[in-house]
Symmetry: none
């Protein structure tokens, strides 16, 4: 049995260097150049150190992207659902950019070949985000901006869907105006079906 490593003795320098290297390599050269060996070289860290703390290249990327995302406040509540959703989706687009060497797109692609990673992504990134999103919808219901019987699943699909459709097919991420237009359509649809 391998003894688990002692987190209290972990080198913060190495941890940060690995995450920075992962993001930088991904941004510079895309997913194809993102290898454990490349990250280790760039970070000045041994492969062993990476494997000690992360189970896979995707896990490194997830940590790096999570770090990135955690620096952005999510699902604020100003009382104006349309404005809040537009702001939120703009944040998401910013994190995802640039489209061609997006760390998030890379993470998603890695998820395709690593089901365990896909589960981690869902649990650590997507589900919390959905929870915040639904909380915001409930708030909107309380002030009557959307109907009491609005379908949250539909709302999730229609608010977030466009971004990922465009991301995976590289159709150009929506700009602020496009996001606002879509948000208005979705809210209009939710109200019309209420």
């Amino acid at each position: 049995m391998n003894a688990a490593p002692d987190p209290s003795r972990r080198s913060e320098r190495a941890r940060v260097a690995v995450l920075d290297a992962a993001l930088a390599l991904c941004r510079e050269s895309g997913l194809a150049q993102l290898t454990i060996e490349g990250i280790a070289d760039r970070a000045g860290v041994s492969k062993k150190t990476i494997y000690r703390w992360w189970p896979s290249k995707g896990a490194v990327l997830l940590d790096a992207v999570a770090d990135l995302a955690s620096r952005t406040a999510l699902h604020g509540d100003t009382g104006d659902l349309a404005a809040d959703m537009a702001a939120q989706l703009n944040n998401v687009v910013e994190i995802i950019s640039p489209q061609d060497t997006s760390p998030v797109a890379a993470l998603v692609a890695e998820g395709q070949r690593d089901p365990a990673l896909a589960a981690s992504i869902r649990e650590q990134m997507i589900m919390p985000s959905i929870a915040g999103f639904e909380e915001r919808l409930r708030s909107a219901q309380r002030v009557g901006q959307i109907p009491e019987n609005a379908d949250f699943g539909v709302a999730l699909d229609l608010f977030y869907g466009p971004i990922y459709h465009r991301l995976v097919y590289r159709l150009g991420l929506p700009d602020e105006d496009e996001i606002r237009t879509r948000v208005d359509h979705v809210i209009a649809g939710l109200r019309a079906m209420g």
Copy 2:
């Protein structure tokens, strides 16, 4: 200089065997097991033959998926936009399934590490599909099912977006009822914003 191979002498047997093997391997074991060597073995074909006719594993997969998609009639026009879009999206979901070892998801993931492949996917699969989609919308406009000034970009994002959001985050592809609900919401939104 490498002479280009002569397509008129191409072996149809080998071509079909490669595409079949690619799809089968992808369905059985997912993207991680989809290698050129694996395809060659399964197809009873030499690697050389694959490299002669396709530039990459992703290109094989694109051909295979395109073959698959071409056997499904797309964007029919019965006069009922909601019914037609629901039918169309159900077709797309069927092609994409099963989610965990979806050839389309694999293709999309490959596109992340191969920009040339991403461009091919866009040109050969996505753009023609969008053209058919817009043609269908124009037809709906002519019979007054959606407003004259409906935003086709919004419609594209909202109709197709949900599928890909769910696909990349493995949230479970929508079933027929879910698709119908979303189609109705989108059309309601288009009308409300008209």
Copy 3:
């Protein structure tokens, strides 16, 4: 069963072109560049044609070298054994040269990986040559230049051996003076042991 090809319909142009190409490629670039494909290209001949008439690349080379050797008179008999042997060995050295890209060395190397070829070389080139050599020795015995009981096997080894030792280890082929010196030593040895 494959019908044997009909030699009467064989293209002399193709046959000559193949042998010439084999020798030329061997001389220019050494054995590593001597491939069936390379010969076919250089000769303007299809690979099929080569495989139709020769079982292997070594067989082509054997034919080519045999052609070469046949243009040199072997084991003449002027009555002076030492002079005749020196002349003969000089002929051999000339056929073998240049050492670095010697077709004969290439042929010998091919023989190592193809026992059937090795047998062909022995039967078609070596054994006839040995027969001629022994005939010459018998002639020398008749005129008393070497003892009646001289060991022909020893003579063969000592006359021909040096050339091949130097060839395989690239020690520099003997020049005319060196050959003459060795011939004299061998004959001296044969006489001394007689």
Copy 4:
């Protein structure tokens, strides 16, 4: 820039396994079956490890043969030149055997397609052996067994030549009696010409 590997960290187990596998494969199946992949498989070693420490398959074989040869004492000096040379040549024949799948013959054949290897063979195997041989001849001169003016080049050619002539043409390696007969002839020739 490729960093050179660090010899102090080299795995002795891997080194020995590779050399053993190379010799075994060569002996069992001949040069045609001797591939880097085959050696790696047989040795339970990765191809990378072979390529890390040897530039080519021939270099592996050279190391293996050199190992083999180093376990045989060469050019001993009992005071009797004929006996010593016969013993030495018997050693050489033993190392070379079996003729049909001789590692030495394979090495020589490889040398034909790889001039760098041929140079290595000459420097690491042949030249040291020649030096030892000439030292033995000098010793024989000191005790008057061969003339002061004996031609060492002739001696080298006539002592060693027969073995290689027979090897490359697969004429059957000389047995102990044949070797002794030839040694005696050569010494007789050297004395007669002194």
